[in-house]
Amino acid sequence: MNFELDDEQRLLADSAERFLTQSYSFESRRQRVKQGRQLDHDVWQAFADAGWFHLPFSEAEGGLGGRLQDSMVLMQTLAKGLIIEPLWANTYLAGSLIKRINHPLKQPWLESLMAGKGHFALAVHEYEQAFSITNSCNTLATHEATGYRLNGRKCVVLNAELAQWIFVLANIDDELALLAVERDTAGVHVSGHRLVDGSRAAEVTFNNVLIAEENRLQASGGISLLMQQTLHEAGLALAAEACGIIDALMSTTLAFVKTRKQFGVAIGQFQALQHRLVNMFMMSENCRSLLYAATLKAEERHDDASVVYHRLQAMVAEYGRHIAQECIQLHGGMGMTDEVMVGHYLKRLLCIESLTGDLRHHLLASIEPVSTQANVA
């Protein structure tokens, strides 16, 4: 076993950190959030130039190898800057889906995505729906002579405003299906809005939208499995971001309590706060451990890769929330303002928690079907 970064990964982390320091200041990010701009083209071009869009794809797909570890390092490092651009939504969420489907446009889609030109969205969530992907879906498509008619409404569709194609989870004959819908098709209405973390998404309504037969996506193993694999791969990258945020929260807050004084001493001297910080630190280390475990197991295709993935998600959701809330409390009034980072980290964690399944979903999915013995290391 080995938990050290290799040279390539160290370079990747360094370049991401350099990008944040040089081109992604807190102030410039706040301005962009305030302006409601959908994409900063300079930032997006910088991502493309750095090769980050190629990272999760294999050489056969035209990418850089697609090692999950590399994406982990990138997302962990970029986390600190709270990227509002749809890097995850486009490259990881839509990208993980595209690479797993059979479709005539698959390769052109991947190429335009990696070039930084193509934008794609995956429409999963609906209103008044506690998290569920596989069993229930009120967006319906019916058979037509030349394809399908789609009706329904999806919410919180990331990157829908920019997307040329939206992949829509729908029911056809009581069966789960994925439809590729061109955004410009008649009957598609995209209503963009901000999310709590400053990034953007949209409500997308489908009003008798005509879909060609070939745009009902196919995948070996079926749509349920496709969605599961997509969410696991993309979710792993998102969990890496959560771990990066947790690290940033811890270092920001530790620095704060060492300097902030109350009653004449640095508040980090108060034992009650120290013990809470130690608990937070232990949680953050456990998150890191599970991130490594989940990433390496997925990469090495262990039998328990899937359950470990869900454990990771369940842990970053629960511990991340706890840590962020404690960090705000420890910052006192300042933590409640828009002016310091901690609150923004909490907002991003709230998003991460909700995008790939809720805590209960992850916990229940994390139980192995049969009891196994501890493995050889």
Binding site: Y127, C155, D197, A201, Q325, G332, D338, G343
Partner: protein
């Protein structure tokens, strides 16, 4: 021991309910429903205060001679609960709950005659200048100075976390009038007009992106010495009275019960994978049941404190306890609400929160307030004496540690 409510109380409750349903307008009610903080929309809240004032009910807890109602503690609780159950926006407390009682206790006759009626009518909008950048929970180290110069004090320094300073025309504040004496005895309690030359107000944007708190800067601000409340250098005495009032006066359980009932309704509307509602999930029910249990325990802890007060007892630092339990339960409830909603709660739509002309929300209305409310509520364990400071107080005063 008994819990029996008197016939009088039951009649009083009916009377209060009738008044509210006749006078609480739809837009004021919406201001209460869309509030994501203890501070609802200021304009509609003041409109509601004027309606209550016309009935003589703006300050039930004040002595009758100053405009109070003369109600029993039990009647006051009935009134408060009826307001909460009707989604009425809570009245803004700085004048009615904080400055007013203080003036009643320590003000001169002139101060009382001039200021109390304007608090009741809402003509004056007060803010509280206590905290400073380096004196949050630690008021002893406050540094804003007031130096006597003839009939005036000259104020220099700054205050922070001053709620609604950008709406207020008056401030009551603590200032340092003597640097030589022991830290807490050199402080005075002063009233001032917010339009005096030398005062600058900077609203602070909160996590919910609303400007609720402010920073207030004083540069050679002249305040007539007649604006002193109580003795010079005895401001700490006045302030402590206020703090006790602020902490002991609040009851958390009634608001929490209403919030929990709303969460139940939300959970009943969320669908899950197996064509059940979220409400039917065992894990949700267990979380819900724990909250309900804890709220009811708090309700009876608050009743016990009130009952001790009625019979002349001193609830002492027990009000620190209800502050800690109440605020931490509030926070837990906002988390429970979030857990119902999933991704749909992430949509950020402040325009849907404006009660006078709310925009049509994306998704259900109840999902719009969840995240701002969750974020704003993180502050409840920080303000009014942080929960860490409250725990220190309980350890010392109640447990004798």
């Amino acid at each position: 021991m008994n819990l029996v409510a008197s016939t009088e109380d039951r009649e009083f409750q009916a009377q209060v309910k009738d008044f509210i349903s006749d006078h609480l307008t739809d837009d004021i009610r919406r201001a209460g429903r869309l509030a994501t903080s203890v501070f609802a929309d200021p304009e509609l809240t003041m409109a509601w205060q004027r309606i209550l004032h016309a009935k003589g009910w703006a300050a039930p807890h004040w002595p009758v001679e100053y405009g109070g109602t003369g109600w029993t503690l039990s009647q006051r609780a009935i009134f408060a609960e009826a307001l909460i159950n009707a989604d009425a926006p809570p009245l803004i407390p700085m004048g009615l709950m904080m400055c007013g009682p203080c003036l009643i206790g320590y003000g001169t006759d002139t101060q009382k005659n001039e200021l109390l009626p304007r608090i009741l009518s809402g003509e004056d909008f007060w803010c509280q200048g206590y905290s400073e950048p380096d004196a949050g929970s630690d008021l002893v180290s406050l540094r804003t100075s007031a130096i006597r110069d003839g009939d005036d004090y000259i104020i220099n320094g700054s205050k922070i976390w001053t709620t609604y300073a950008h709406h207020a025309n008056k401030m009551f504040c603590l200032v340092r009038t003597c640097k030589e004496s022991k830290p807490q005895s050199g402080i005075s309690f002063l009233l001032l007009d917010m339009n005096l030359p030398g005062i600058t107000v900077r609203p602070i944007i909160g996590l919910d992106e609303a400007p609720e708190q402010c920073e207030v800067f004083f540069e050679n601000v002249r305040v007539p010495a007649s604006q002193l409340v109580g003795q010079e250098n005895q401001g700490w005495t006045v302030a402590k009275y206020l703090l006790v009032f602020e902490r002991g006066g609040l009851e958390y359980a009634p608001v929490l019960s209403v919030q929990l009932a709303k969460i139940r309704q939300m959970a009943q509307r969320q669908n899950t994978a197996d064509r059940k509602t979220l409400w039917q999930q065992e894990s949700f029910q267990l979380n819900f049941a724990r909250c309900q249990r804890d709220i009811q325990a708090l309700e009876f802890t608050e009743k016990r404190i009130k009952s001790a007060l009625s019979s002349g007892g001193n609830p002492g630092a027990l009000s620190s306890m209800t502050k800690v339990i109440g605020t931490e339960l509030q926070q837990k409830l906002t988390e429970l609400a979030l857990s119902c909603l999933g991704a749909q709660a992430l949509i950020w739509q402040p325009n849907a929160l404006v009660p006078s002309q709310p925009a049509q929300p994306l998704g259900p209305e109840y999902a719009v307030t969840a995240v701002p409310h969750y974020l704003n509520t993180r502050a409840t364990s920080i303000y009014g004496g942080s929960n860490e400071v409250q725990r220190n107080i309980i350890a010392k005063m109640v447990l004798g540690l």
